[in-house]
Symmetry: none
């Protein structure tokens, strides 16, 4: 009989987290890591630098989980209380770890920095705990197998391990990678890892996607679940399997089925972004692009140039915020702007044509709209934009888009840029 | 006798948090908000979409805290279980809230989007709970005073309130600001609030700042602490006081002392951004600005136009990524680029002069550099940039900046844009 799968719980200690001065990104990092090696995480907890409350959190966690990954509270100051609270809870004396003491002294000597006595507090560890070396800072961690002690106290059954690491992300990740993860891998009794695939969608809402995938979302395995992203929706397909390869083999038919149903809205997977996908298409089709933006103020250009190697297809982008700039830079006749208004199908078309012609790129992309919070009217409200796309020497095409006018200005810009890149992708697909 | 101060606990619900796919930034936001109104937060908890575990977390929280702020699990899909789990725990039937139903239907009608039946699940609320309107999405929240019910169950004493809000940050913050916060303010019994002031610095590192403020950072109250931000350092001054006004009065002399010592590097406070500060200076000095970017790819322009009202000083910005664009758009002689290279003091100067002249703005700002990961050389490594600033008709000035070449491309772009705006501020100060 295989033993039950290990459950882990992630506990962060530090009043700065409860004050909201620091976001608990460590919990997300460790959760991702644990998911990849098939250890379930059912709870995260955050508690301040307060021994009775630290102890309460640990007792609760030991009753329901096997592995307690603890971050924070290992520093040299008086409010760093993790190790002392743990030792007291388990009725275990603290001893000074001679190797830790040497390393701490050495750390200050090699950096030519004065050491204060409080730093030596960091060399203390519970009597029968092991020290986790800190390759990038002074605070050592503690790896403590308390299986026997917990059983004696009647606090829970099975393996009980506490791994205490610093709250500074780079120190925590260094200790996790070099010491804690390898140890957990050797004791990992679960036969499975988690394989995942994210599919990314634009132009379809979460509830409509859920409607079309209801039967797949209801099935037990692989699981299919929606996530709302920044101006996009993601679908995650996930399955537990013995290996990543076996997991991906189970994911593949589900992915194919999803793409059969709603593939028209899917622009990419996993780490793809709209700008990286569009960039690859431009590269492979050997096309150059020029962008004329108004309401997005440079965001489309910024996103396109976030892609390494984007200089291969980027020549010139312009932000023609004023009418005079539209006229002078893109040679849009004053009458067109006067007759239709700067936010119009006619101007979007003229901008796309104008920017492409200006620098003789294969494609011109343009966007003009109203990002708010002011500048809207009944006829042309905040959230309205027109996106123009033109092949050099051909008639431009224009799409109208509307975004929730209650969104903040930056958010509206984000949505506009998302639509601009989405329609650019459609345009490149049709070529 | 004053009643004991209220204690709040922040509970996030969602398996995506336990998988590490989402960072729990909501907890940090709500913690900051609660600190400002003097409500203590002793715990954060995260639990997955699992009714028995959701219930366990709530029972524990009700025993030790008065106000449970809950985020997540209010969506339309089958794994959004918060409201149902709460109702079951309190033995309270769910009813359909007619106003919520109307609003949800209206939401889809005004956006011309098809509604699925699952969306109506979001109109359910516990019988005696109130609905919190969602001004920016479909999921309503729930505000539920369960003081009597909890007392009957023997789960704890005193005021017991549950406020359930969506996990999407913009929806949560809208509900918090418009509904939950005002209600908590009316019941707030704590004798003290936390008053804070953030000062923001560019051009000086955290350790140098700490060195210059060491004595202030050692004092007990007001507390002075450094925070590392995105390409900037913040100093927080904080103090507990009976009112915000009393707190700010204690903060003021400390703020003055800090500015006396390191004010040269301080660009603003609290919600200020470099782009908002620069925007205000341009407005008050009645100046217009044009920007020519190369390596930042539109980010400087994007940031400047994130400020509402930026159309008052923005005419035209260009991203001249290619040499041909620099030549054609900014009329930089081919020889200058050939002789000095595109990343050079001479080209930065010519770009700043060229863009200002092109559209006749008062000031031209330019940046050219190497954002990586490729394109660097021994002489001109990744992380090098030149920033040019020119008054119309005057000789341009150029600053050279270097950024850690090990940073990721986007991070290098962020630092470059920060320096560009920082030097623009210096330039405007000197005018």
């Amino acid at each position: 009989m295989t033993p039950p799968a290990l459950k882990a719980e992630i506990i962060a200690i530090g009043t700065e987290l409860l004050m909201g001065e620091v976001v608990n990104s460590n919990a997300a990092y460790l959760s991702q890591e644990l998911a990849q090696i098939g250890i379930d995480v059912y709870y995260h907890a955050v508690v301040g630098d307060n021994p009775p409350r630290i102890r309460e959190i640990f007792e609760t966690a030991l009753r329901r989980s096997n592995i307690l990954l603890v971050t924070g509270g290992l520093g040299p100051t008086d409010d760093d209380l993790t190790i002392a609270a743990l030792a007291e809870m388990m009725n275990t004396p603290l001893v000074c770890d001679p190797q830790s003491e040497t390393r701490i002294r050495q750390y200050f000597i090699t950096r030519d920095m004065p050491m204060s006595d409080t730093n030596l507090k960091q060399a203390l560890r519970p009597d029968d705990a092991e020290v986790i070396e800190n390759p990038v800072g002074t605070a050592p961690g503690v790896y403590w197998d308390i299986t026997q002690k917990v059983a004696t106290k009647g606090w829970g059954q099975g393996v009980k391990i506490i791994a205490a690491m610093p709250g500074v992300p780079r120190e925590m990740t260094a200790m996790w990678t070099q010491t804690v993860l390898p140890r957990l891998l050797t004791m990992q009794t679960s036969p499975s890892v988690l394989a995942t695939r994210f599919l990314k969608f634009v132009g379809i809402g979460e509830s409509m996607l859920a409607e079309k995938l209801r039967d797949l979302m209801a099935q037990a395995t692989p699981t299919v679940s929606p996530y709302v992203g920044q101006a996009e929706v993601k679908i995650r397909i996930a399955v537990k399997a013995a290996t990543q390869a076996e997991g991906m083999a189970q994911i593949e038919p589900v992915e194919t089925e999803i793409l059969n149903r709603v593939g028209a809205y899917c622009y990419g997977k996993d780490d793809d972004t709209l700008e990286s996908v569009v960039g690859e298409m431009l590269l492979s089709q050997k096309l150059t692009l020029a962008v004329a933006e108004s309401c997005t103020g440079g965001l489309v250009s910024h996103r396109l140039t976030n892609v390494p190697g984007s200089s291969a297809y980027t020549r010139l982008n312009v932000v023609t915020y004023s009418n005079i700039a539209k006229e002078k830079m893109l040679e849009i006749p004053q009458e067109v702007i006067q007759q239709h208004g700067a936010v119009s199908e006619a101007v979007a078309a003229a901008m796309a044509e104008g920017i492409g012609t200006k620098i003789q790129t294969d494609i011109g992309l343009a966007i003009t709209g109203i990002a708010g919070p002011t500048g809207g009217s009944d006829e042309k409200p905040v959230g309205l934009a027109y996106i123009g796309l033109a092949r050099l020497g051909e008639t431009p095409r224009v799409k109208k888009v509307t975004v929730n006018p209650n969104y903040a200005r930056e958010q509206i810009k984000t949505w506009f840029s998302q639509y601009a890149l989405y329609y650019l992708r459609q345009f490149l697909l049709e070529e």
